[in-house]
């Protein structure tokens, strides 16, 4: 390798380091939730998401060895009448408070615990709190001996994703509900057709597409024309209308909902797709025109002059010059408008009741008080797939050098 090349590679290392660390920094919060979406509720509440690849802590065996093993044996099976490996026997006492209560009672006229130190501890009413903390590992060890049913599951599970997809809102999981092949509550069919459940994501997904695609295309269409006018046409009031364009962007969404909803009601548009397309178009126009005007205005005038010399008029210039050259700007706009409408909840609730969109379905997964929020972790990502695909698809329009050939020619 030549010294020059080596120098160049080394020179670029700082660049890569910076870019990669920034990217990682940006990714960490999202990554955290992505990992969390694969964990069970219990695991989420007790450990951070970065622990997902580690094993759950093993309960200490020392307390059991000192206090219980002398009579019950190391495997719990030494006493036939009290077989600690039997879940039926142990099931009652895996909670430390119950365990302690039971240990305080006599067995066959004798104190339950044989070990002198432990015995004194257990019987001492004034140190109950201390004993509870000390006994906790014993309870966990008992659970482990009898089959580990209470051990926190650190493993990865797809239940959040499945629940979100089919719209399961109960207290366990869809998989448990359909464990026997027949839905316990009668709500699900327990086969693939559950994916089409109206309370799941599938119909909402289609509704979202139906709302978003036209709402993204229409504003671009109207904005392109208007932006061209602001950039290359002369008309009275250009300046103050441009000022207005800037100002109108501040109008908060909530201000526009009541008058428009009332208007729609009078016109009979209250629950129509056409109405919501028009609303999103209207709301997105000021910003769209503002952005596009900037790009269109930045095109060199020589291009227009040369095309005029070739005998074109504004209409031709618009279609054959302005639009193709501002493709990156149009792509940006398309992405933003798509995102904004795809993630919108408020407008959809008011102008399109009865046709739930994805955001609506997602907020409906959780209880009003926030129970079942673990479903949000998966649902949010399901909703994010489409906008990201759109972003990736539009990336190819962010191409350098669209102007290069034009200037030369």
């Amino acid at each position: 390798m030549s010294p020059g090349r080596l120098k160049r590679i080394l020179g670029r290392i700082p660049l890569h380091v910076i870019v990669i660390s920034l990217v990682v920094l940006w990714l960490v919060p999202t990554l955290g939730v992505f990992v969390t979406s694969f964990r069970s509720r219990q695991a989420v509440r007790t450990s951070g998401w970065w622990m997902v690849l580690s094993k759950p802590p093993v309960p200490s065996q020392q307390e059991y060895a000192t206090a219980c093993a002398s009579c019950h044996g190391a495997d719990g099976k030494a006493l036939a009448t009290a077989d600690l490996s039997d879940p039926e026997v142990v099931g009652e006492y895996t909670r430390t408070n119950r365990l302690l209560q039971m240990l305080r009672q006599e067995v066959d006229g004798q104190p339950h615990v044989q070990d002198a130190e432990w015995q004194a501890l257990v019987q001492d009413q004034s140190r109950t709190k201390e004993v509870l903390d000390k006994l906790a590992p014993v309870g966990q060890h008992l659970a482990a001996l009898s089959g580990g049913s209470l051990a926190v599951d650190y493993g990865l599970t797809a239940s959040n994703w499945i629940d979100a997809l089919v719209g399961y809102k109960g207290t366990t999981t869809y998989q448990q509900e359909c464990a026997t092949g027949v839905s316990e509550s009668g709500k699900f069919k327990c086969d693939a057709s559950d994916l089409l459940n109206p309370e799941g994501m599938s119909r909402a997904f289609l509704n979202s597409l139906l709302v978003t695609v036209p709402s993204a295309i229409l504003p671009i269409l109207f904005a392109a024309f208007a932006a061209y006018a602001f950039a290359w046409l002369d008309f009275r009031g250009r300046t103050w209308m441009f000022a207005l364009l800037v100002g109108l962007q501040i109008v908060p969404l909530q201000m526009t909902l009541v008058p428009i909803a009332q208007l729609y009601s009078r016109l009979g548009l209250e629950s129509s797709f056409f109405g919501i397309w028009l609303f999103h178009t209207g709301f997105g126009l000021p910003y769209a025109i503002y952005l596009l005007r900037n790009f269109l205005g930045g095109l060199p005038r020589d291009l227009f002059e040369s095309i005029y010399l070739d005998g074109a008029n504004h209409w031709t210039a618009f279609w054959r010059l302005a639009i193709p050259l501002s493709v990156p700007a149009i792509a940006s706009l398309g992405i933003f408008q798509f995102l904004w409408v795809w993630n919108d909840l408020l407008v959809a609730i008011i102008l399109l009741p009865g046709n739930p969109v994805l955001t609506y379905q997602i907020t409906n997964l959780i209880d009003p008080r926030g129970g079942n929020w673990h479903l949000l972790t998966a649902a949010a990502f399901l909703s994010m797939i489409v906008p990201m695909l759109v972003f990736l698809a539009f990336q190819r329009y962010f191409v350098r050098g669209l102007l290069a050939g034009a200037v030369k020619g």
Partner: protein, 501 residues
Amino acid sequence: MKKLLSITLIAILLLTLIPASAMAQEPVTCQDEVTVQKDDWLSKYADKYLGNAYAWPAIFQWHNQAAEAEPDKFPNQIVNPDLIEVGWTICIPTAEDATDFLATYTEGVDCMGAAAGDEVSVLYQWSGSEEEKLNTVVKPLVDACGLEIVATTTRDAAVLDTKAKSTPPDVVFWPTTAPLTLYTDLLKDLGDLGADPANYAPFWQDMGTVGGRWLAAPVKADIKTIIWYSPANFDLFGYAVPTTWGELEALVEQMVADGNVPWSMGMESGPATGWTGSDFIQDILLVQQGPQYVLNVIDGTVAYNDAGVMQAYETYGKWAKDETYTVGGATGTVSTGFLDAIYKVFSDPPEAMMVKQSGFAGGEVAAEYPDLVYGTDYDFFAVPGARGMQGGADFMMAFGDSPAAKALVAYLAGPRGAREWAGVGFDLSPNRMALGSYNDPALIKKSLALAGAAGFTPDIGDTIPAPFGEAEWKALVDYVNGEDLATALAAAAAAQADALK
């Protein structure tokens, strides 16, 4: 000719008499005919004669049928099941008749003229598993009448407002009576929609009446003036459930001496952060000042920075800001989520001994710790010394009066809807007809607590128009985070005056 005419006339007269006599029904069989004495209730008779106090609707309806059939024997019809007068003669049905009657009584679903496929638009705050419960409750109606319920879920009052002003939903379920004052002219009288006010206790009717029109019926209620604890832990440490406020304070000190943390408090709740604290403060007010004082705060006669309110805040702050009394101290109180605060009392080993929380907490504990048993591992006791019961309710209101809307309203306000509601366990149903249908022991205990309450005090923050509620929460959070109490309350009092203007 004349003879024929007179015979025809007599025949016609005779013919009309036949239906009349048929309408005069056959006499109704009574197991017994009781004369009402002082302190007699229908439920007492039900208990004595039918073996179940909750079977009183059978007597209610059976007697009225008897009164219609034999008006001379039973001159008094029962209009309000709570009001039977001394001296009346009541017809008690036989046990068989009662059972048969109750069976048919609950089968009936009246479609009120709605046709299959009719839509009724509904708006409510319920989502997730709560929405599922509602769907279960109305399923009999939907199946019987073929109705289509188009539901919108939102917790946003602005969405309700926008819809009310443009395309109002047929029926609304809302956790406060705020829509009553905001949309009085748009709401329909529930009586006109087929709902029976007699199914609700007078204080419920009053809450839902504006200008003489009954506009809101409570469909779901929860009690708040209760404290959840673990009886197993109490047994272990030798604690007794306190019956007076003094005993509670002594218990707290005892817990501290034992090395336990008495309280678990968590106010964090996203946009609604602070509501658990304001509930606690109101319960303290019920103990220290009484229900009339609370009502005075609600209508503005007492300012929010009055000495009584300050005293309640100080009592609360003594516990909430100190980490010996509550998990995490002030930071814990403000930053812990309210659900996490509930869980801390029932974890193993427990991080705290008590949490003051509404009735729904029981369901959350059961969901999080399925191995726990109600009564042994988790239970509640009423806040000792509280004169009155604080609670919350969801009210049903109607903007529309289409047949489908009528069907829904009449169903939920009637016996079938009430029984379904109680059976599904969707919190308490204030509908009288729900009594006897609860399956959940915790709910039964709560319903008795609600029924026995001296007075039902609405939540201050829910009743004073918004945004007082949020000002109240802000005062609370600021105070717990270290701000001077007088300053914090002055701001809330200003918001109170402003909201009530």
